[in-house]
């Protein structure tokens, strides 16, 4: 019995649940008014862009070959900028048109990344670094200064909550999880995992590797588009420099969630919990009124400790030797 619990705790996701629960308790002790209805909505709004950015980083990492999407942050920032400076400017205020256009823009960015990686055969870090720079530059060209004037659907997403407890903004991550579950059901996620764990084996079994990679990056772009919508809802305005910060946090969340950055292993729940843990650490530091100069130091130390606590347990077996990938 005891043995079984110990074993269950070894799973990275289980340890993340424990970490998240401990952080929620710590937060509640320090700031007891956290669990009131309006605060919960505000917390959910703050969390949503980070959580969606983390989910957007998952498919590219899963598809292997050094897969990594650095452009997640600027992509979601660019969607935010376009929503206010282009769509709202041209009178496209309806949610039924605006939200699909945002998702489409995200998908387009993802598809460009995917084309560069899968068909251009560039290393993912270089390709997405290129789009990172292009998008963060373009965002500033389109909108040099932060500006208000977000469409009404943004404040609908941010303000309301279903039955007073379930904030509207949670529709977005829930939508991502449902979509992912559907793709898993169709077997498409397994294709990505197969390509990620050994692309040569996948190729020789008849998987069309470039198409799968393109699909994975495009899907990540769709999620980044949704993250951009969440950012618009959070700020109710557009800021051309707000998106960039999410890239590294998203990758940290993916790694903290136990997904292998070498590809082929991991799911959605881990990175989601990873994002929650990162968010709760920041929340704890700011509600404990740690000086803003100290926050960076403490955050780095906690991230390091959490990462080591959550690392894969060292098995007693000798590691099997397999052919190195991609060499």
């Amino acid at each position: 019995m005891n043995q079984r619990y110990v074993h269950a705790l070894r799973a990275p996701v289980a340890r993340l649940w424990v970490m998240a629960a401990a952080l929620v308790v710590a937060n509640a002790v320090i700031a007891p008014d956290l669990l009131h209805g309006t605060r919960v909505t505000a917390m959910a709004n703050l969390l949503a862009p980070l959580a969606l950015a983390a989910l957007a980083g998952v498919p590219s990492v899963l598809s292997g070959g050094g897969g990594l999407d650095l452009s997640v942050g600027p992509a979601l920032g660019f969607v935010n900028v376009v929503t206010v400076a282009v769509l709202a400017e041209h009178g496209i205020l309806s949610a039924w048109l605006g939200i699909p256009l945002c998702v489409l823009l995200g998908a387009l960015v993802g598809a460009v990344n995917g084309l560069l990686v899968a068909y251009g055969r560039l290393q993912p870090i270089v390709a997405t670094l290129g789009t990172f720079l292009v998008l963060s530059g373009l965002a500033l060209v389109v909108l040099p200064q932060p500006r208000g004037g977000a469409p009404r659907w943004a404040s609908f997403l941010a303000d309301g909550s279903l039955g007073g407890y379930l904030p509207h903004i949670l529709i977005l991550p829930a939508g991502v999880l449902v979509l992912w579950a559907g793709l898993r059901r169709l077997g498409l996620v397994r294709l990505v995992t197969a390509v990620g764990s050994d692309q040569r084996a996948a190729y020789t079994s008849g998987v069309h590797v470039p198409v799968v990679r393109l699909g994975a990056y495009t899907l990540g772009g769709v999620f980044a588009g949704l993250a951009g919508i969440a950012l618009t809802a959070l700020t109710d305005s557009a800021d051309p420099t707000a998106g960039k910060q999410y890239t590294l946090m998203a990758i940290a969340a993916v790694a903290l969630g136990g997904n292998a950055l070498s590809g082929g292993r991991g799911g959605m729940l881990g990175p989601l919990l990873g994002a929650v843990v990162l968010f709760l650490i920041q929340l704890l530091l700011s509600s404990a009124q740690v000086s803003s100069l100290w926050i960076q130091v403490v955050y780095g130390v906690i991230l390091l400790v959490a990462l080591c606590l959550n690392s894969a347990p060292r098995s007693g077996r000798r590691p099997r030797v397999t052919a190195a990938q991609g060499v």
Binding site: G120, V126, G130, L133, G137, L138, L261, L293, G300
Partner: protein, 326 residues
């Protein structure tokens, strides 16, 4: 058709091993010469060499880490730390040799911590170095209160001035230091056991462990060298900036990685060398200078640089098609 394809693949393979980068350097230089007034002036070439030296020294450490299959995102924080430490300690009247030793030891320690944690707990280097970078950056912020502090020692200002000469050479001493370091590192990588161990670890860590050549010490040493070189780049930058500023390293976050890749090294580990890294630093510096010369806004410059990096790397740094890797 097939024959043409095979021929072009072979040509690409040849080109990827060196001449392509040199061709790219010459091409960008010629474009700059015809498009920007004064681009090929002796003074601007010397200024570019100094900028390339700072980038090149930081990118050398990054190359070592990339060779063992990692990546080091603590480089900008360590550059900032080296920069601030040098300026502050010099301002307090400490002798330069002592300051430099202190800075290098600090960089070595942080780098070694990166490498040890990465291999001991088997966690991704990207996030570990992100975390230590955050800690180091935060400590520097606390130490300086986010203001410009200290002053550069006067010899260092001459050392990094683009109009300075090294004996008979019309290059600043910092450029010579960079080239000597790069040559030494290339020699160590190619001709010594330590260098070959690094490659073995990068190509296949498990096989390396079974051959008793890989493991924690190799990893730790590679990261420690990266930390030391980043700190050194920070110290040298003090001569350029004149005082210590905590975020002087910020532009090097991705540009150090970009220089490594633009030289044609593989981020998957085990493939690459110092010569390519130096060439990559030169190409990146040329491109950046070129865009400054076009008097574009900073935002537009960034956007164009992103596209150019992709285009340049696509011209020689593409992977083999999967079908030919089997």
């Amino acid at each position: 058709m097939r024959r043409v394809h095979r021929w072009s693949t072979r040509l690409q393979g040849r080109l990827a091993s060196g001449p392509a980068q040199i061709l790219a350097i010459v091409a960008v230089f010629l474009i700059g010469r015809s498009a920007v007034v004064g681009y090929s002036d002796w003074t601007s070439i010397r200024a570019m060499a100094v900028l390339a030296a700072f980038l090149g020294i930081a990118a050398m450490g990054q190359t070592l880490v990339v060779l063992v299959g990692g990546i080091d995102l603590s480089v900008p924080a360590l550059i900032g730390a080296g920069n601030v430490m040098t300026a502050k300690l010099t301002g307090q009247g400490m002798a330069s040799p002592v300051v430099i030793v202190l800075v290098l030891v600090a960089g070595f320690a942080v780098g070694a911590l990166n490498g040890y944690v990465t291999s001991r707990w088997n966690v991704p280097a990207l996030v570990v170095t992100l975390a230590t970078g955050s800690v180091v950056g935060g400590i520097v912020l606390l130490w300086t209160d986010a203001t410009l502090t200290g002053s550069a020692p006067s010899w260092l200002t001459r050392f990094t001035s683009s109009s300075a000469t090294t004996g008979p050479l019309p290059l600043a001493p910092v450029v010579v230091v960079w080239l000597v370091l790069a040559a030494a590192a290339e020699f160590v990588l190619r001709r010594t056991t330590a260098g070959r161990k690094l490659y073995a670890q990068g190509v296949n860590p498990r096989a390396a462990r079974l051959m008793l050549v890989g493991g924690r010490s190799v990893n730790t040493l590679a990261f420690a060298c990266s930390g030391t070189l980043a700190a050194l780049a920070g110290t040298l930058l003090t001569g350029f900036t004149g005082a210590g500023l905590f975020d002087v390293g910020a532009p090097y976050l991705f540009s150090a990685v970009a220089a490594v890749v633009m030289g044609g090294n593989s981020l998957l580990g085990g493939r690459g060398d110092m010569l390519r890294c130096a060439l990559g630093a030169v190409i990146l510096t040329e491109l950046t200078t070129l865009l400054v010369g076009f008097s574009l806004s900073a935002a537009a410059q960034q956007a164009v640089l992103g596209a150019l990096i992709v285009i340049v790397v696509a011209s020689y740094g593409r992977d083999q098609p999967l079908g030919s890797q089997i």
